[in-house]
Amino acid sequence: MDGGVATSQTDLGPLVAEWRAALGDEHVITHRHQLRTYESDGLLQYAVTPGAVVLPSSTEEVQEVVRSCHRAGVPWVARGAGSGLSGGATPVPDGVLISLSRMRRILEVDLDNQRVIVQPGVTNVAVSQAVGPTHFYPPDPSSQIVCTIGGNVAENSGGAHCFKYGFTTNYVTGLELVLPDGELVRLGGKGLDPPGYDLHGAFVGSEGTLAIATKIWLRVVPKPEGVRTLVAFFGSTAQAGEVVSEIVSSGIVPGAIEMMDNLSIRAAEGYTGAGYPVEAGAALVVELDGSEAECEARFEHVVAICERAGADSIRVARDEAERDLIWRARKAAFAAMGRVAPNYYVQDSVIPRTRLAEVLGRIEELAREYDLQVANVFHAGDGNLHPLVCYDGRNEGEAERAEECAGLIVKACVDAGGSITGEHGVGVDKKRYMPEMFSDADLGAFQRLRCAFDPEQRANPGKVMPTPRLCGEVPGPYRRHPLEEAGLAERF
């Protein structure tokens, strides 16, 4: 038996033999050093070595693996590219990691009906490539070159263009799921409003805790005729925030509208040399897309609003190269933080856009109090803040201080009427904040859905919910669970 298997609480040995026979030796990983590749997703501070990793290539193989886990009572975690930022694909130590990376076939491109059917391991960018140049797939997380549609479905991924175009959930019209007992279920398809409950709607964003999607029906839309991009620089984020409000309240829905504060401008400029003035208090990237006529009329209006609000300078992209340059600084903001500090916590909170000045003020206060630098990169249209709490992990206690500061920032956002996460998901990283947003009864209602799909809670256990909850028998007589008797869990 291999090292990885021997350390797991459940003896995976017999299952591993079964999977090797079904999937082929090379698609079942049990060597400890190979398992390490899978111990984290994009959030490296959470690392757990899984008991085994399996790489099924078909729905039938996924069913086979899940069914055997069901029989043996082994928990599992499904994983796409592992680019998530909430620890949502962190393995469980005595469980199996099911990587969907081999299921990367585009099954059908039906451009006549503006639908694409894919396997979960297809990358986000591959969908747009498959329907170009006339169409595109709007959700565009910044990891789109590597992240998979299966992962996007699990996390309900957004991206820079989601203020106008919506999120993954608005583009999924059907799903084929392997339930935790191995049963195959088809929900929806190419048409809208299929009979019965909107379970595909409830599934998107469920973070791998309900089932595994093995086939996904997606809607694609015509590519806009025109695009206009500008970046305007302001003295302060408050001033830029006013401009965002004015643009939106004048009836303009930009394709993207992104804000960076001074610290992120400086870091990004040092990293990319995109020509952003390092003394600017805020940079506002505004992109309009749509029909040429519509774009032109709206764009003039946006420029006028920026000028009236006292922009220090406005740069309008004259061609694709200049547009790329404007975006380069924005897209490099996270990577550039290495120039500010060796480590950072990235938060993903959302606030009502009108509370921006107040919340940024509070973040500044917290940064001072904790003696840390906090950079702000902001999807300004939909209020999705990405505060980056910078720290140096080599200094004793600084990581803990940064974590505490990040937690208070999340709280400030929820107190302002927002959310703990806009696009990264709860995963393991933010589950402790769930009670800030949801009452016990709310969490209980979530658990009802979980229990309908996965009464034994083998799918991605330990994610999303802040504390373990049980699934009662429904219907049927009440029986106390051993964990409940031991006082280790509450019955829902």
């Binding site: 006549d112 009906n113 503006q114 006339t134 169409h135 957004g158 203020f163 959930t169 608005n170 339930l179 049963e183 279920v185 088809r186 190419k190 048409g191 809208l192 409003d193 299929p194 009979p195 019965g196 409950y197 909107d198 379970l199 709607g201 409830a202 939106v248 009836g251 303009i252 829905v253 749509g290 029909s291 006529a293 032109e296 009329a297 959302v350 009502p352 856009r353 009108t354 939909d382 209020g383 009427g417 959310s419 703990i420 996460t421 806009g422 696009e423 990264h424 709860v426 769930m434 947003m437 949801f438 209602a445 979530f446 009802r448 229990c451 309908a452 799909f453 999303v464 429904v474 219907p475």
Partner: protein, 369 residues
């Protein structure tokens, strides 16, 4: 029974759950003739008292509404700020709670999505007395399961909707529609598809067909709505549909919305696709039906007029051989099931979901999938 407050509704529902007495929830009472309500329980909990617009955050383009708020009243309030909830189902008296529970929609769906795409949060009451929220009131939020979508279109079979949070959109200052007709089903379907595939930002893109005659309608509402409508008119003309461009277009779209309802005949909502449209026109002709539809989505409403209940039942069965088709308005004597056939595994999963949310099985049980 009309309840004055959410607390009273919660208590009445809890009591019904305890007693095992089935109940249904009533908003504006505009969809009680749907097939799903055919065997509805006599005990009724009305949301008429839950009629407050709790928040309208104009700067954030969001609102929080109690379930019993009539959509028309909410729209009037939003319009004062130059905003709208981009939902335009046909019934004037409908409440937001009823529209969410029915998952109903109108022509704006082609551009803005349906209820499922505009609802960002929900508060519900369950039959064991639980009151729970999901989602929030910001437009971007992935914390927790999306129970708002689960309750959308659930027809009151999981619990009562007390409150919903929605995303709003700017109200276009003016609209322009390019519209044209043809007696050739292939021409209508193709012309609609050409516009759906063009890089134009329509507010609505509809078709209608009946009695051997059809129309395509493309509506625009942006800063350059006239230019876009002219462009759409050009596309329609090249596809063989002579189109007129009109600014005063409200009545044209009223007809489309009204085509989703009938006081006398069965109405079936068909989940088709763009390429199904032509075939569906032909099917409507064969079955004696007329239809309106959202061209880019393939979602159509077929009215089976001048047909006896038996003939309508047979027509619905025929439609269901090729399409998923849900029966909305159901005249007396019609026996066809509301939902129609479902994948047995999906139905099993839906039943397990319902057992978890309404273990007492008292929430409008006849309408459950």
């Amino acid at each position: 029974m009309a309840v004055a407050t959410a607390e009273m509704l919660v208590e009445e529902l809890r009591r019904a759950g305890e007693e095992g007495t089935p109940v249904r929830f009533r908003g504006g009472g505009t969809k009680l003739g749907w097939a799903a309500n055919r065997d509805a329980p006599e005990r009724e909990l009305s949301t008429a008292g839950l009629d407050q617009i709790i928040e309208h955050n104009a700067g954030d383009l969001t609102a929080v509404l109690e379930a019993g708020v009539p959509l028309a009243r909410a729209q009037a309030a939003f319009a004062e700020a130059g905003q709208m909830l981009a939902l335009d189902p046909p019934d004037d008296g409908a409440t937001i709670g009823g529209i969410v529970a029915a998952g109903d929609s109108g022509p704006l769906r082609s551009r803005y999505g349906g209820v499922r795409d505009l609802i960002v949060g929900v508060q519900v009451a369950l039959s064991d007395g639980t009151v729970a929220r999901a989602g929030g009131k910001v437009i971007k939020n992935v914390a927790g399961y999306d129970l708002a979508k689960l309750f959308t279109g659930s027809l009151g079979t999981l619990g009562a909707i007390l409150e919903v949070s929605v995303r709003l959109h700017p109200l276009p200052p003016a609209t322009t529609t390019a519209a044209g007709g043809s007696g050739d089903p292939e021409t209508i379907a193709r012309a609609a598809r050409e516009v759906a595939h063009a890089p134009l930002e329509y507010m609505g893109l509809d078709v209608r067909w009946g009695g051997g005659d059809g129309a395509v309608l493309a509506r625009f509402g942006g800063a350059a709505s006239r230019e876009q409508a002219d462009a759409a008119g050009g596309i329609l003309a090249r596809a063989g549909v002579e189109a007129q461009v009109v600014d005063d277009d409200e009545s044209i779209w009223r007809v489309q919305r009204d085509g989703q309802r009938s006081a006398d005949w069965a109405v079936v909502r068909v989940s088709a696709t763009q390429t199904d449209l032509q075939g569906l026109f032909a099917a409507a002709d064969r079955l004696g039906g007329r239809l309106v539809g959202r061209a880019p989505l393939g979602l159509c409403w077929v009215i089976l007029q001048d047909r006896s209940p038996e003939e309508s039942d047979a027509a619905i069965e025929t439609l269901r051989r090729d399409y998923a088709a849900v029966v909305l308005d159901a005249p007396p004597g019609l026996t066809a099931d509301h939902w129609g056939p479902l994948d047995p595994a999906a139905r099993g999963l839906m039943r397990r979901v319902r057992e978890r949310f309404d273990p007492a099985g008292v929430c409008n049980p006849g309408a459950a999938p």
